[in-house]
Structure formats: structure tokens, C-alpha cells
Amino acid sequence: MRQWRFEVFNRASFPDVDGSRVLDEIKELGIESVEAVQSARVFLIEADPSGVLGGCFDNKFAERVAKDLLADPVCEEYYIGRSGAPAGLAKATLIEVHLKSGVTDPVAESVMAAIADMGITVSNVRTARKYILLGGISKSQSDTIAKKILANDCIEDVIIGSETEPPSPHLKPYELKIIHWPVCELDDEGLIALSKAKDLFLNLTEMQTIQKHYRELGREPTDVELESLAQTWSEHCVHKTLKSSVDMKINGEQIHFDNLLKETVFKATQELNKDWCISVFADNAGVIEFDEDTAICFKVETHNRPSALDPYGGAATGIGGVIRDPMGTGLGSRPIANTDIFCFGLPDKKLEEIPKGVLHPRRIMKGVVAGVRDYGNRMGIPTVNGAVYFDDRYLANPLVYCGNIGIMDKNKCFKHPQSGNLVIVVGGRTGRDGIHGATFSSGEITHEYETIFSHAVQIGNAITEKTMLDVLIQANEAGLYEAITDCGAGGLSSSVGEMGKDLGAEIDLEKVPLKYAGLNYAEIWISEAQERMVIAVKPENLKAIKKIFDDENVESTVIGKFTDDKKLILRYNGQQVAEMDMDFLHRGVPKYSRKAIWESQQLSEPSMEAMDDYGDVLLQILSCYNVASKEWVIRQYDHEVQGSSVVKPLTGVDNDGPSDGAVIRPRFDSDKGLAISCGMNPLYGDIDPYWMALAGIDEAVRNLMCVGGRFDRIALLDNFCWGNCTKPETFGALVRASQACYDGAIAFGTPFISGKDSLNNEFSCEDGTQISIPSTLLISAISVVDDINKCVTMDAKGVSNLLFVVGETKNELGGSHYYKIHGQIGANVPKVDLETAPKIAERMAEATAQGLIVSCHDCSEGGLAVALAEMAFAGGLGIEADLRGLPKSDDCQRVDTQLFSESTSRYIVEVEPEKYDAFGKLMLNLPFGQIGKVTDKKSLTIKAQDGKTVIDLDLDSMKQAWLKPLAW
């Protein structure tokens, strides 16, 4: 066997995109001595030169591979072998980045297949990247560059200036050795020590429960049995905190929940009992009716920890994972839209302020966006809605929420696995990647996690998932399987365990196809390797379904069968390695009781100096990262693939205004649409998480109403990301938010259909200080649109049209961006009036349905002034506004309060003069008032109650202030 090395460089006359990016990032690090960076792609191909495996991989063939396949004939050149530093340049540093052994290398797989198309089968391909840094740099600087820019420790190895490359990863085959992890004789200390040593993240009560179980059985558990329990009982999989019983002291008053989730979020759904809810909190995603024949399912997940360690890979597998949820809901849906919401530390943070073990927020953000981009775009799913939020408390724990929506036949919304069905794993192969992901995501993160948990990072390959999706849709249409679920957290352990929990299953682990040799049976069972789904197939359908998979080169393997004895039997080469009781595995997790405390904080309103002109303040708020344009992110996502987009994330005359929500048209043969939105405001949670949650619900609803969603078909999703919930105060905040979810859902008539939580988002720094994220509740919402031709957008449309504000502006600057830019938080958090808010939303939906309005924008961060500015510059038209027309509460008399209060349930609506009467009639008895009109003046002017002009800005300066901060 001979190894060939190929290097591919850009020709000098073509820009080296990767090299320039690296150079820019080196400058960002403050290293000025690097003058240029040249990048090269490296391919290491192992082939048999004698030609036993098909043709003969000789020098001539190597030239062909380089010329016809690896290098672009126009803009690249190649070198076979190892090229040295460019001649005459003494100050050159060579750095090579190789994937760690076992890390999925999709390019290598494609190259192997392509060489086979050329007629020769090679035995192995690896790829690497080579960088030549020109300029004088020290050893420590090259280390820093390698670590901070070029490579990720978790998945890549760096070789600086060396002439060698990593050895070929030929792993020894695994020889069966059954391992027991004895628990029966351990004392409490021993149980805890075992849980820690094996990264099980099981607490003492859980370990004691397991001990009792095995004492009753009269034997010791095997490693894989304990691993299964740890996965199945992890916070990530069973949400034990949210389902725990709670004793809560709320401002001194004691209340009790037997099961927090069931008595808040879920209870609202049960009480509302909507007949269009098909499957809620039961499957991988919540399912609602779309039209007579089809249903829609929606799921939002978080992938926070992996994204903190490996932003690109973590985010990519985050979106990859959540796509598999709708794919594994009912009998499988076809994904039609992605959503993504990120929370990061401030991107301009100084490098020396970053704690050890934490990546810079800018690097995290760039990596996360690139990860979602590359995976989502490759899947051919439009990313239509999202948000990016910045706060320094997300520095060590960035939040990455990824959502996916699928469409399915209404009669295929439920699975029916039966005993005797074959268990088939479809899609990607199993490797060591992502082992302990489920348990890892449930614990607290420290500065050492980077090294300890590098194996918890999963590596994704979107094309493997896409090809799997292509064939599963065909198999579903042909009705060839009885049940489907994804291999997510916990791997096969969770998917087979979950599907077979009322049946029983026997699995032969040696049959699971592996990426490489050497995995033991426990690793196979709990690996979280991506792009795998498990299906249950009747034996008589095996041939037909295999043909569908084989026809498009998708691997599928029978690994066992479902039984009827409620036992989980695992074997390796015929030897039993686990025998578990499904009931104990799935229902044995001890119930928790937790303490929670909520004390309303004693906060006060700051005294703000009144100003004559608020123009500068408005510009400052428009430039706040949270308010500023996210165009840099949005444009990197394909939001139009599938040809379904109706209201795009960017809108207006120059296609750059911020849409409130998105609308897609999922079926080619129908003008029915789907509106998608979200709501989130962690700043309000600093004052009171109850009002934060309600504001989030109101915002998500508003955003749907703004684009034309139906009011009576709104479904919500909750995603709680919280700090350490063993602290009663932190948990108390979560209970408050849950109570608000119940109250809000009931008031708006909007059931929650799915949810997820990510707790313990705290980071322990080296010096022992802890950084906890702010309590962060994301509300995602979807609604049906009856006729997409009636949808409206937020950009001002026509000169002389009238502008109205619907909804009351109150003295509610608490948690506002106006206070934020002044370094204040305040006390008067926006409070949703649960009587009026739903009425306003309903009437807004009616106004759109009747075609009475031409644009609509909600007031959120930055309040009325920001919303007016956005409408004006998105439409390229001026606005003259007069605060005398503003519907407001009696205590809302100050100009700054009127301009910047973030009171909820407010909409700015543009109405053509001839529709005025009809619109006014429809809004009767609601707080609404005419605030101004659209002009051709290219400026925004706002007059205060006393007639004085308090804002007078031209469109361009506002737009530039808004566009600039994140225009990277």
C-alpha cells in the first residue's frame, strides 16, 4: 500500500478566500507581523500500486486524479508530494490541520467515490488543510493562531512546521470483553464516585434506586446497562426538573405542584383542548392540522454545550438533529422550514476578558452561523425565521436554538411498532462521536470541559442526512414501515428504547455498521453519531424497503427485532451483554421534589433627564446589537429553497427591512400558508420572569398577526434555557415563567404543542466565579394563513397613507433598550393585559383578512420610535408622526416614555385613506389612534404633545446606524 500526497493551491491570479479570511482573523487577534497567508487543500490517498483492487494507481493515474478531480483547472494548481516553503522566504511558518482519528471526513468519502468513478478503488482517503504564514512570528504566536483560528482541539490535530503527518488510522478490531460495574455492595460515597468516574451524571437517589433494583435482581449491572440508565434518565431525555414536584415560596406564600410541567404548560393545552391539535408533547415534535389532508409538525431544540466547544460542528449538528425530529414524528414528515435563535456574548469583548476554556463570542458567532448555514443549506430547507441576542452572560454558555417544521399526511401522524417488526438502522454509520452527549448536556460546564468532553462533540454530514431523507420519504409513501424515530441524544439506546418501551427488543450490536473498527458494545449502543434513524419494519416488507434504500446508496441494516416481553436484550456476537426491564428503564427514574423561591425584587425607576431632541438616542438604540440588522446572518441562509417563501426574513423596497415573521406556502397546489415567528426578551426576566414569559408569548403572537397569520390557529413551543436549577432562586424564576406560560396560553387560546429545556447553563471559571445565563425563555409560534395573497409586510408602502397605533403605550421602560443604553434596568417591566391583548391580536388578524391594512409592524425592543424608523427606511418613505394621537395610559406623559416604552400588544398599522372608515369601525372599543402619515420626505419626524419636534432624522442615517454594527 502506498500513500500519495496531493496539495492543491490557488493560482496566484485568483484570490485565496480561505487564506484571506485567516489573515483577517490573525489581524483581529492583534498579531500584526503576519504579512500574508497562503492556504492549500491536502489529500492523502492510500492505494495499492500493484492494481489488485481494480486499475493501477500509478504516477500517471495520480496525475489524472490531481488534474481532473482534485484541482480546478482554471484557478488552482497542484503538487504531488510535499511542497516546501516558498523559495526565498525565510520567515514562513507551515501549519497543517488534520482531522483527529475517527472524525467523519465527508470530503474524503466523496473523493473515494469519485476515484471509483474514474475506475480505481482506493483503500483510504484523508484530507487536511495547510497554511503557509509569511512574516516573523514567534512559536507562541503560531500556537495561538493554530488554536484560536485554524483548528479546533476537539476534532482536529495541528502540526506546526513538521515534515510528518498523523499516522494512518488503522484501528484494531474489538474483542468482546463483558464488563460489569458493580453497585450492589457500594455505600453512598461509592455510588457517587462511580457515577462521577463513569460520567454518568446520576445523582445519589438515582444511584440508590439502581442499586436497589440490581440487589433485587441479585446481580451486578453491566457497563452498558448503567450507561443505558444514565442516558434514559438524563435531564436531556426525561426533563426531570420540569416534571418534578415543587414546593415554592412566592413572596412568602407557599404553593405546591405535583408535576410542574403537567400543571402549567401542558395543562393549558389540555384545557384548551383544540380539535386541530393532533399530537402534543408525545412525539418528537408537536403536530397540528394544516388543511384537510395535511398536518404540520414543529420542534425547537437547543445545542448549547457542543456549540460552546465547537461552534461550527455543534451548531451544524444542532440543526441536523432537530431536522430529524420532524423526520421522526409520526411516520415521518418532510422538512419545510428551519428557524434559528442564538444568544451570544457581546462580539466586541476584549480578548483578555474571555475566561479560560471559553472561545471569543465573535468566533462562536461566526462558527455557529457557518454551521447552521452549511447544514441547513445543504439539506435544502429554507431558514426563514430567527433572532440573535447579545448579553455578556452568554459568554461561556452561548445558546443555539434550532427549529424545524415538517409537513405530513394527516393519516400518518402516529406510529405503530409491533412485536415481530425488524429494527433497522438507516443512514450514517456509528462511530465514537458524541458519546455521552445527553449526559454532558445536563451538567454544569467548567473551564476544563474542553478537554474532558471533547468526545461529546458530534460531527455532522448533511448530505448523509439528505440522502436518508430522500429515501425515507419514498419508503413512507410506499407504506413500508410501521414506526420511525431519530437517533438523537443517547443514540440507539434512546431510539430503540423509546420505540420498544411498550414492547421489548432484542438487538445484536455487532450488526450495527461502524465507521471504523474498535468500538465496544457499550460505545455502539450509546454513540450519538449523527444522521441515523431507526425504523420498525414488517419482515415481509424488508425486501421492498431495502431496494428503495439501496437504489440511492443509503445504508440500512437489520440490527434486531421488537418483541413482546417488555425486556431489552442486547447481544454482541450472540453473547448477552444486557437484559433490562423496559418498565424500570423508562419509568423507574425516581421522582424529584424541588424547592423554589421567588421574591419580587425591590427595584426602582431611574430618573432620566428630559431632552429636547431624542434623535441621537434613537440612533444609539438602532445600533444596539440586539436591535441592529441581522442581514449578515440572514443572507448566509438560503431562505428561498423549495420555492415556498411568501414573507421573507428581509423585506421592503431594498429587500433589507426586518420582517416580523415569516410566511411560507408549503404546498404548490394551495394558497394556504404557514406563518412562523418567535418572541424572547431575557432583559425583562431580570425584573420578573413571569412578565418576561408573557411578553415573549405576546411578541410571538404579534409577529404572526403582523404578517397575516390566523388568530384562532396559533400553536406555541416553549424552550427554557436556565441557570443551575438546584438553586431555589433560579428554579423559582423558572416556575414563575411556567406559570406565565399557562396564563398566556389560556388567555390567547394558544396551546403549547412541544417544548424542551436546557438547564444548568452555568460556567465555573478557573478562579471559582460562576457565570450564569439570564433566564431565557424562547417562545416559537406558528399559525395557518388562509390566503397568502393577503399577507402584509412591515415596510411603509404609500405616500399619504395613514398610520395608526393599536394598543396602549404605558409607563413601562423597565428592561427597555432605552434604559439599557443608559446602563439602567428600571422596575416597570412591560405587563401584558391578558384581557385586551388577545382582543387586539384577533382584531388585527381580522383587519388583514379583510384587506384593510397595507403594512403592519409590532413595537418591541426600542419601542415606538424604533418601529417607526424601521417602517420608514424599509419602505424608503418618510413618516411624520405626532405623539398627540398615541393611545397611552395616564402615567405615560413623558416624551421619552412614549417614544421608547416597550409596552406589549402594540402594532403600527398603515391604512390607505379610503379604508379608514372600515378600519376605524373594526378597531372600535380598542385602544387605537392615528399617529401620523407616510410622506415622500425621506425622513422621520416625531412631534411631542406640545407640538415640538423631538426626532427629525433622515432615512439614510437611521438605516446606516441600524445596518452597520453587524455588517461584518
Binding site: L69, C75, R373, R378, Q636, D638, E640, V653
Partner: protein, 260 residues
């Protein structure tokens, strides 16, 4: 011709096949999405169609370079079948990834005297994937897909869309032989820097056609603008006419109807 048949070629990572199929159907063709494995198994399969579309997507994940692996497959397994298809007077359309495949397989610019591939499509100057809308000015009056002189508005969504040639002579030949199908322009029809030219293409090239005018490849997505509600600011427009991309499909169907 009774029934015009169009085939949309699928492969691992292709993802614009359904909307492309729909656009063809809406133009009056009978369209089918067929996996490349079927075409390779049965080399005669292609001959039953009159329109072949290489749709958008990320064939094989854009591994090595966009479109490269699929182009390699076409070269080694389907070159003869595709060449015969073209020689028979039939139509080939490559959209986005499909355009990349046509160029990297040497099918476009096509019929030029150069033996070596002298045109390619590479990374955007911006260094990243971008989804944005572009105005396109036709540069030819002999490509059957294109209405001459009719400026259109279509979205691009790609990370590797920059059309480049090995040298000025090659570029001049593209111009003089009428291979340039579309250029990126602004609203008023003028060429300009980024973002008017969204990827840095030489001569603002957005699409190429071969010497027969029956093979067209372009980076923008006609199938994403076939109805007015796909226009990025349709809610501002009084005119509710169909989308600009539709003409390419209807022209293709019309051509087949008239010539077969």
C-alpha cells in the same frame, strides 16, 4: 408533439428538484425527478425526454469543489448520453449547482475549440454563501430559454458562483462567440460592483449558453420566481403578474412543442 417530457436529475445533495419539477409541470411539460443511478443503470433512459435539467443543490456536499463530484460522475458515466441528447437537438438547463456541474463537466460553454476546461466557477469574492435578488440582463438573442432584451429579477443562493476564465482571450471568446447568456446588472440595467455583481464574476457573468443556444446554465434560480408572491417585495407591487423565472420554462416547452 403530444407530451413533452422533462427530466430533473437527482443525486446525493440535490435539493431544488421538487420546485424545478413543479415549474416544468406548470409550463405544460410532464416532468419527472430521476436519480442519477437510474440513468447510469440504463443509459437509454435519457433519450425518452426532451428537456434535461440539472437542478440546484449541493451535489455531494460541494466536496472538493461545487458540482465537481457530480460532474466527474457525468463525465465517466453519462458523457455519451448527454452529448447525444444535445446532438439530437434537445434542451439542457443547469441551475446553480446544475450550472456548476455543466461547466465542470465541460458541457458549457461547449463546442469551443479549447481542449482544456478554460472556464470555471469558484468561490464568491465575499467568501461566503449569500442569498440575494439580482437583476439579469440577457446578452444573447439565440438562446431558446431566454426572451432577448427582457431584463429579469431572480434570486441567487450560492457560495461558489464566480465565473472565471483562465485568461482574457478565453473571456473574449465567450463574448465574441455569444456564450454569455446573462449578466448581473442593477435595476436600471447597468453593471456594477458588489452587490450588483454578487460574486465577483468576470464581466458580471451570471449564465452561459453553448453555441447551439439549447444548453443554458445560470447561477440564479428561475424556479424560485414563478409566481408573484415569490418576489421579495411583492406586497409593495400593484402588478400581480407571474414571476420572471417562468419564461425560461415556458420557452423551453414551447421550443420542444415547435421542433419535435
Amino acid at each position: 408533439m403530444a407530451q413533452i417530457k422533462a427530466v430533473v436529475l437527482r443525486a446525493a445533495g440535490i435539493n431544488c428538484d421538487m420546485e424545478t419539477e413543479y415549474a416544468l409541470e406548470a409550463s405544460g411539460a410532464k416532468a419527472e425527478r430521476v436519480h442519477i443511478n437510474r440513468m447510469i443503470e440504463d443509459r437509454k433512459l435519457l433519450s425518452q425526454y426532451q428537456i434535461l435539467v440539472f437542478p440546484g443543490g449541493f451535489s455531494y456536499g460541494d466536496d472538493v469543489a461545487a458540482g465537481k463530484i457530480l460532474a466527474n460522475q457525468v463525465i465517466h458515466h453519462l458523457a455519451g448520453a448527454v452529448q447525444k441528447f444535445i446532438d439530437d437537438g434537445k434542451l439542457v438547463l443547469g441551475i446553480c449547482n446544475g450550472f456548476q456541474v455543466l461547466v465542470k463537466a465541460g458541457i458549457l460553454p461547449g463546442n469551443s475549440s479549447a481542449k482544456e476546461q478554460a472556464v470555471t466557477i469558484t468561490y464568491n469574492d465575499s467568501g461566503k454563501f449569500e442569498d440575494r435578488w439580482t437583476y439579469l440582463a440577457p446578452q444573447t438573442d439565440r438562446c431558446v430559454f431566454i426572451d432577448p432584451g427582457q431584463q429579469i429579477y431572480l434570486p441567487i443562493a450560492h457560495g461558489e458562483g464566480k465565473v472565471v476564465t483562465t485568461d482574457e482571450a478565453t473571456l473574449e471568446k465567450l463574448r465574441s462567440d455569444g456564450h454569455i447568456a446573462f449578466k448581473y446588472v442593477d435595476k436600471d440595467g447597468r453593471e456594477g460592483p458588489y452587490p450588483v455583481n454578487p460574486n465577483g464574476s468576470m464581466d458580471s457573468i451570471a449564465g452561459l449558453t453553448d453555441s447551439t443556444g439549447r444548453v443554458l446554465g445560470l447561477m440564479p434560480h428561475p424556479e424560485r420566481h414563478i409566481r408573484h408572491t415569490q418576489h421579495p417585495h411583492w406586497s409593495r407591487l400593484k402588478d400581480k403578474k407571474g414571476g420572471d423565472g417562468m419564461t425560461m420554462f415556458t420557452n423551453a416547452v414551447k421550443y420542444v412543442k415547435e421542433n419535435f
